[in-house]
Symmetry: C2
Subunit: 297 residues, 2 copies
C-alpha cells in the first residue's frame, strides 16, 4: 500500500440527509476512498471515515469543511453531543508508510488552509497541538460553540489559524492521533463491580496502562470491561487482554471472550499472534496474500 | 482478491541457469504472478512459485512443462533428490475463493492436457489422486525415473493420462494439496532427545496430531521441533504450538521461540490471534487495511 492516511471528520448535522449527502459528496475528491459514514439524529451529528494518499484526503476534507460551513448554521444547531462548529473535529490518522508526526504536519497544513481560505477559526489538538492545554479534545471543546462565541477574543482561546471571530459555521478542531481501537473484554461473571474495579486498575487516568481508557459495564447480564485503546503502539491490545486476564484470575474469574467495535490496524493482529506464538518476525510480509499483492505491484 | 491459486512446480534442473531461465520465462503466461524461484545444484532441481487466476496459472504451467520436456534429458540427469521426470511434480494450492476439491479438478484438467498434447505420462496425487495408493507423493515417486522406465507397462503403474511410455522427459506428477506451512519451535534446552520425543508425540505418523509431520533436531546447540503442517485447516498452527508447549512444560522445559520457513496463509495468523484473544470474529475483514483494499475495488 502507498502512503495512506485515514481521516474521521465529525460534522454537526445528523437530521437532514441532504446536507449529509452534500458533505459526503464533497469529501470524495479524486483519490479519496469513502470507507464509512453514519448519522445520529439525537447527537445531530455525522461521522465520515475516508482514506487515501495525504494530498487527496486533505483536498477532500477541505471541500467537506467548506460545504459544511455553507450549509450548517450553528446558531440553530441543537444536539446531545458537544461541538464547536459545523465541522466539529477532523482527526488525521497514520495508516501506512507515514508517521504520526507527519500527520500532525498535515493537520497544520489543512488548518492553515481552512483559516486562510474559508476564514474560520481553527484549533490544533492532540499530536498537532501547539500548546499542552490544547492536546485533549474535551479541553479544546470546553464551553462548546456557544461559549466560544463569548470567549474567542480572549488570549487563552485565540485560534491557531484564522480569525478570532465566530460566524454561523463556528470553529474547526484539526489534529492527528493514532488509530483508535474500541475493544471490549467480557468476564465470565455478572459481577459488574469486578469489571469496574479491573477498569479502574488498567486505565491510564487512575495510574494503569498508558493510552488505555476503560469503564466497567453490565452488558446483557455479563460484566464487561469496555475500552478505547488510543495508541496500540504504546500499549498493544494483547497486553491489555493479558492484564485483564491476570486481574480476573486473581479475583477467581476468567475471561469469557473479547470483541472489537469497528476496525483495527492489521499490526494489532500480527503483534498479538507474534506475542503468543513467540514468533517475533511475524508480520504481513510473511503471508502469501501479501506476497501476491506485492507481485501485483 | 479474486479467485487465486498457487502452484509450486519442481523441475529436474538446478545446474544450468539458462534452462531454469527458459522455464521461468515460459511459466509467466499473461496473468501469472512469479512469486519466487530457487535452484539447488546438489539436488539438481529448481522450485518455482507462481500464483494467479486458475486459467492463467494452468496455461503458464503447461508452457513450463513443455519447455522442461524439450530441454531436460532425464537419461542424463543425476541429483540427490528423488524425481520421475523433467517436471517432477506440480502441486496446485487453493489461496482465495477456491476449494481444494476445485484445485483437484484443475489438476486433472492440466494432467489431461499434458498427457494429450505433450504425450507425457501423468500421475495424479494427493487431493487429485484416482487411487488411494497414489495419494502420497513418495508412493507415486517410488523407483524414480529409472524404475518407472522399467515398470510403467505394469497395470499398477499405468499413468492417469498420457501414454504408458517413458521418453527423455519422463513422467509428470500433478495434484492438489492445501498450503504447506514449514514451522519450527525451539525449546529452551540443548536436549535433542526431548525434541525428538515431542516430535514423535505430535506427528500424525505415530498417532499424534493429524496433518503434522515432525522431527527433533539440534540446531545451533538448541533443541528444535521441525515441522511441516500439511493442512492448517485440520490442525491449526497455534494448536501445534500449544501442544508442544504442554509437552515441554511436562518435561520441565519451556518454548524459547518459534519460526516460519517461507510464507503462511494469513488465516493462520488471524486464527491464532482469534484463539489467544478469545475473539472468534477476528478476520482480515476486521482490519482497516482490508477495508481500504475493498474500497479500492
Amino acid at each position: 500500500m502507498p502512503v495512506t492516511i485515514e481521516a474521521v471528520p465529525n460534522f454537526s448535522e445528523g437530521r437532514r440527509p441532504e446536507i449529509v449527502a452534500a458533505i459526503v459528496e464533497a469529501i470524495q475528491a479524486p483519490g479519496v476512498l469513502l470507507l464509512n459514514y453514519s448519522s445520529d439524529a439525537d447527537h445531530n451529528r455525522s461521522v465520515v471515515t475516508v482514506a487515501g494518499p495525504p494530498e487527496a484526503v486533505l483536498e477532500g476534507l477541505f471541500r467537506a469543511v467548506s460545504t459544511a460551513a455553507a450549509r450548517i448554521d450553528m446558531f440553530q444547531h441543537r444536539g446531545a453531543h458537544p461541538r464547536v462548529g459545523a465541522t466539529d473535529v477532523v482527526p488525521l490518522v497514520p495508516i501506512e508508510a507515514i508517521s504520526l508526526e507527519a500527520c500532525a504536519e498535515l493537520a497544520r497544513q489543512l488548518g492553515q488552509r481552512i483559516g486562510d481560505e474559508l476564514g474560520l477559526p481553527v484549533y490544533l489538538y492532540e499530536a498537532a497541538a501547539t500548546r499542552p492545554e490544547r492536546r485533549r479534545l474535551p479541553d479544546v471543546r470546553k464551553g462548546e460553540f456557544e461559549g466560544l462565541v463569548e470567549s474567542i477574543h480572549t488570549p487563552e482561546r485565540a485560534p491557531d489559524f484564522g480569525p478570532a471571530r465566530m460566524g454561523p459555521a463556528g470553529a474547526v478542531i484539526v489534529g492527528a492521533r493514532p488509530f483508535l481501537v474500541a475493544y471490549n473484554v467480557y468476564l465470565a461473571t455478572a459481577d459488574v463491580q469486578l469489571a469496574k474495579e479491573i477498569a479502574r486498575q488498567i486505565r491510564e487516568s487512575s495510574g494503569g496502562l498508558p493510552a488505555v481508557r476503560a469503564l466497567g459495564l453490565l452488558v446483557d447480564g455479563q460484566a464487561q470491561v469496555s475500552m478505547n485503546l488510543v495508541d496500540t503502539g504504546t500499549t498493544p491490545l494483547h497486553v491489555v487482554y493479558d492484564e485483564i486476564g491476570r486481574l480476573a484470575v486473581a479475583a477467581g474469574v476468567s475471561i469469557d471472550r473479547s470483541e472489537l467495535i469497528g476496525l483495527v490496524p492489521q499490526d494489532v493482529v500480527y503483534n498479538a499472534a507474534a506475542h503468543y506464538l513467540r514468533l517475533p518476525e511475524l508480520g504481513p510480509d510473511r503471508t502469501v496474500e501479501e506476497a501476491i499483492r506485492r507481485a501485483q505491484g
